[in-house]
């Protein structure tokens, strides 16, 4: 049995996103192999009714975008289509940066974003996980659900993605320097309140 088929079966059976480590454990294979299998699955699904969606380390099967009218018709729920400015802005930051701390989001938006992030978390549009680099930092990431609603199989398919990443990389160097100087206007940075402009930690 080929690896891509096994992955397809597992993802179908679970019916929800799985992380790369989960897939590795399930298949008892190192991640390099699993990644190859995923790539090959993605290719095999070309022109089919299903697609493979991926975030940085999560994967899921979903219906192909060409079938969206059909499925939309079958869904019974009313969909809330009116995402407000704050939600859209916050989602854009998370999507284009792929992983970002609350502090960074607030640096860009200039406003406490605890509430909006909580709403987005509850709706499963973003998720929050500890940073691998620094355990004290939590990073927000787009979920597979979010990508699926946008009709993209990975964040890289977003318009202008590469340009934005290049711009951000350049800006980040500058911001890191400047960001440090902000802290002194910032007071004691109690958890959820940016006292100056940016809170100290999550």
């Amino acid at each position: 049995m080929e690896l891509d088929n096994q992955i397809e079966a597992i993802l179908f059976w679970r019916g929800e996103p799985m992380t790369l480590p989960e897939l590795c454990r399930a298949l008892k294979l190192p991640s390099a192999d699993v990644k190859k299998g995923l790539q090959s699955l993605k290719e095999k699904l070309q022109g089919r009714g299903l697609v493979l969606i991926q975030t940085e380390d999560e994967y899921a099967l979903a219906t192909a975008p060409e079938t969206h009218e059909l499925i939309e018709r079958l869904r019974k729920e009313e969909l809330a289509k009116d995402l407000g400015k704050a939600a859209l802005e916050t989602l854009s930051v998370v999507l284009y940066k792929e992983k970002v701390s609350r502090r960074d989001i607030e640096y860009i938006r200039g406003v406490n974003s605890t509430t909006i992030l909580r709403s987005l978390l509850m709706r499963g549009l973003v998720e929050r996980r500890q940073s691998e680099k620094d355990e004290r930092v939590f990073l927000y990431r787009p979920t597979i659900d979010l990508l699926s609603l946008l009709g993209i199989t990975s964040a890289e398919e977003l318009p202008e993605f590469q340009d934005v990443r290049t711009e951000l990389a350049a800006a980040e160097t500058a911001a890191t320097v400047a960001g440090a100087s902000l802290a002194d206007g910032a007071g004691d940075g109690e958890d959820s309140v940016p006292s100056g402009l940016v809170p100290e930690h999550e």
């Binding site: 929800e16 969606i53 854009s92 284009y96 938006r109 977003l158 800006a171 940016p194």
Partner: protein, 272 residues
């Protein structure tokens, strides 16, 4: 408008235009109209407001644009005294940086500390970043639901009772306690102590008093009397500029980077 005062400080006297009343009224009327318009919206913090002001005037983000919208920003922010304290502190922080930018525009010779220059630059960078993400959020908006790919409905499961080892009365109590602890405390949010930021008006008042009593003092002395915190220095400096604009104060600086000397005209006598 204040923006147009030529900035020759070296040894020059700054005076406000002779007729302060007519333009002032005009400006007030314009501001009221603008503020009225703005108030229809909800702003997500100071950057949102500032960016909206800049974009409304179709300006490119830069020193000039920011100096131009400073008054609008201050006027709008003044009405937000009742904001939760954290938010008003953020408004005050941005306001003080804006005032710094504006004063630099008024007085090009004004020497700024590295830190001040950084915070000016930082504000611009942040605005540009926000503007970019606002642009990008339009992509996100148009794509939402346009061509969604649906994750499957929840898979049917046949339950098999499989008690995990870590389930016990104790672990569940710990669980619910953790849940309760992580719920955001609305009360706590509004009460959190935030570093106090001296309000502009208060500073202007204090400045007037000090100058009436000691006719001549240096700006540096003045700011030292206010603990020399950066924000106070900025606010103090701008308060001074406001007084200059209003014709209540004369300012001299003998050397380009030298101390700034302040002198009152006759404080209580209108200057015509």
């Amino acid at each position: 408008m204040g923006d147009d005062i030529p900035g020759e400080l070296g040894r020059c006297w700054l005076k406000c235009s002779e007729d302060t009343e007519t333009p002032k009224r005009l400006i007030d009327a314009i501001l009221v109209a603008m503020i009225f318009e703005i108030k229809q919206e909800r702003f997500e913090g100071p950057l949102d407001l500032l960016l909206t002001l800049v974009e409304r005037r179709q300006l490119h983000i830069g020193d000039i644009a920011l100096a131009k919208v400073t008054d609008d920003f201050l006027n709008y922010s003044k009405d937000f005294i009742d904001f939760p304290i954290a938010e008003s502190a953020q408004f005050a922080y941005v306001a003080s940086t804006l005032l710094l930018i504006k004063s630099k525009a008024l007085l090009p010779q004004l020497s700024l500390s590295r830190e001040e220059e950084e915070s000016m630059e930082d504000l611009q960078n942040r605005l540009k970043l926000l503007q970019r993400f606002r642009e990008l959020s339009r992509h996100v908006r148009t794509r939402f639901w346009q061509c969604a790919m649906y994750l499957p409905l929840e898979r049917k499961v046949e339950p098999i009772f499989a008690p995990p080892k870590d389930v016990s009365v104790t672990s569940l109590l710990a669980g619910i306690r953790a849940v309760l602890a992580s719920i955001p405390k609305v009360e706590a949010l509004s009460k959190v102590a935030v570093k106090k930021v001296v309000s502009l008006e208060k500073m202007i008042e204090s400045l007037k008093e000090r100058i009436t009593s000691a006719l001549r003092m240096s700006f540096r002395e003045f700011t030292a009397a206010h603990k020399g915190e950066r924000i106070n220095v900025i606010v103090g400096f701008l308060a001074m500029l406001e007084l200059v604009k209003n014709g209540l104060l004369n300012v001299t600086q003998d050397t380009p980077r030298g101390d700034i000397m302040m002198e009152t005209g006759r404080v209580d006598v209108p200057r015509y």
